[in-house]
Amino acid sequence: MRPSACGRQVQAMEKIKIFQGERELLRGIIETAPVGIIVLDKHRRIRILNRMAAQMLGISGQVSKTSLRQHLIKGSVLSECLSEGLLRKGEAIYLEGLRYKEYYLSVSGRPLMNSYLLTMTNITTLKQMEAQSMRSMIQGQETERKRLSQEIHDGLAPLLSTIKISLEAIDLKLERHPEQAPLAEKLKAIHELITTLAEDMRGISHALMPKVLEDFGIAPALESLCSRLNNNEKVEIHYYNAGFDQRLEKSVEWNLYRIAQELIHNALKHAQANQITIQLIRHSNTVMLMVEDNGCGFDWPMIQATTPGIGLKNIQTRAKMIGASFYIDTSQGKGVTATCELPLNQE
């Protein structure tokens, strides 16, 4: 009897050892996992918080059995999302690309038996890469647009002017031969086609990269853009310039111009506005671009929380690239007021 009892004891001891070993292993895995892991107990107090989670949230020291929220920045989106009530209800959550301190985090949470399991991934590098590729895309686009515009402006446009003037010369010769009237008539038609073609081409070249922007800067370029649109579109576009006519760094001028162009485009195409006001206002050490329209507006917080349209993302990236602040004020049915303010280098 005894040996077998002893054997059972030994067996139990062995089992405990194995179990302890397993626990250590598991703890080790959790502690060194490349994702942030937090387990909250049934009272929603911290039971496990691994190294990665501590690093992402900037938490140090003994946190066991304390409330998670007390360690989070008050008022941060993460803190709001992890409200006690929400956690107590035990609903699953998934938050992508949350900004917390210097990180972008993806957080998912779900109940696990009596506890609540939170896992966090640091997607900062991914976000940075995304931003970088957006910047590169924009820069590449600009270079290419500029090249195409130059190609048209310096290569094709003069060629067309030359063709046109050569036709005029032929026309002059035909005038002396009344029997060639039908030919002259055909020539006239060709002439008109070439005029249209030249005008279209100038429009394309201007849209790609207006020469006036390169030669005279942002203020004349915006004025020219508005007068072109006033001629071509069924909208009233008013341009106001309050004291700004200085030249800026070339890339800053491009980006500011594209922001204005994109905002106008949005107002025309998506908001169906029929009145647009564009202002360039000189402040003591900034310049402000303000674009207002009376179109249908949109639900900005909603769009921002999900994924802003490529146009708006583009504007935000461009504003960031030139160190400008960008603010959009809109709601359904109330038009849009967009403001982009650029600090000026004081000389």
């Binding site: 030249a198 004291g243 206002i281 402000m288 004020d329 403001t339």
Partner: protein
């Protein structure tokens, strides 16, 4: 004797002719232009140049009545060349022949001293008419160009603000609304609610108003609103 006579007959009408110099960096375009203008009995092409430097070099060599001037030329462009001609050869008139219809190019060329501006899309009749007008002391502008000039004048009348610091930049209708509400003692949140914009935007309008009107504070804004009669009962919001 015969040769001399021939030379004379060629010379005498030439003194009546308008002497033209063509400045354009595209040779083919110059050729076409020469062919068209050369057919006109009262016009004579006396020179051609591919850039501003060449134009300036040729100007001293023979009398020129009209320079047909392109703007985009390598090196010294049309604007600088025009400035030079107007200064050094006051009897020569510059007629711009360009594909640019943007206001700034027109203004720059007029400021430089050009007497006329024709778009390259113009037909031969228009080009000939322009050369004749400019040579006789008038000015000539293509239809689109005069439209742009008028736009500029009207724009500057309401004051785009750069021309003179004394001139006050114009306010937008929205700014008038905000100004009126400020003068009526509405707070920023109240204005925001009334105009369906955010408080931040109201604040931006307020900042812009201070800047545009050149006043320091709300009192200055109210004073301006009173002066403009914005608070009169009849002024619609």
């Amino acid at each position: 004797m015969k040769q001399q006579k021939q030379k004379k007959t060629r010379e005498s009408p030439q003194t009546e002719k308008i002497h033209i110099l063509i400045a354009d960096d595209h040779k083919m375009f110059r050729e076409g232009l020469k062919e068209i203008l050369g057919k006109e009995p009262n016009l004579a092409i006396v020179g051609e140049a591919g850039d501003g430097r060449e134009v300036i070099g040729q100007m001293g060599q023979h009398p020129v009545d009209v320079v047909l001037m392109d703007i985009d030329m390598p090196g010294v462009n049309g604007i600088e060349t025009t400035r030079h001609i107007v200064q050094k050869h006051p009897h020569t008139r510059v007629l711009v022949l360009s594909m640019h219809s943007d206001a700034k190019y027109i203004i720059s060329m007029l400021e430089a001293g050009a007497k006329g501006y024709v778009l390259k899309t113009a037909g031969k009749e228009e080009m000939i008419a322009a050369v004749n007008a400019v040579a006789s002391g008038d000015s000539y502008f293509s239809h689109l160009i005069s439209t742009r000039i008028i736009e500029q004048l009207q724009h500057h009348k309401v004051g785009s603000g750069i021309a003179s610091a004394a001139e006050q930049p114009p306010l937008t209708p929205r700014e008038f609304e905000v100004l009126k509400l400020i003068a009526l003692e509405y707070s920023n949140p109240e204005i925001a609610q009334k105009l369906y914009i955010s408080i931040r935007t109201v604040d931006t309008h307020r900042r812009n108003l201070l800047e545009k009107l050149g006043v320091k504070n709300t009192a200055g804004l109210v004073k301006y609103a009173l002066k403009m009669g914005l608070l009169d009962e009849s002024t619609p919001l």
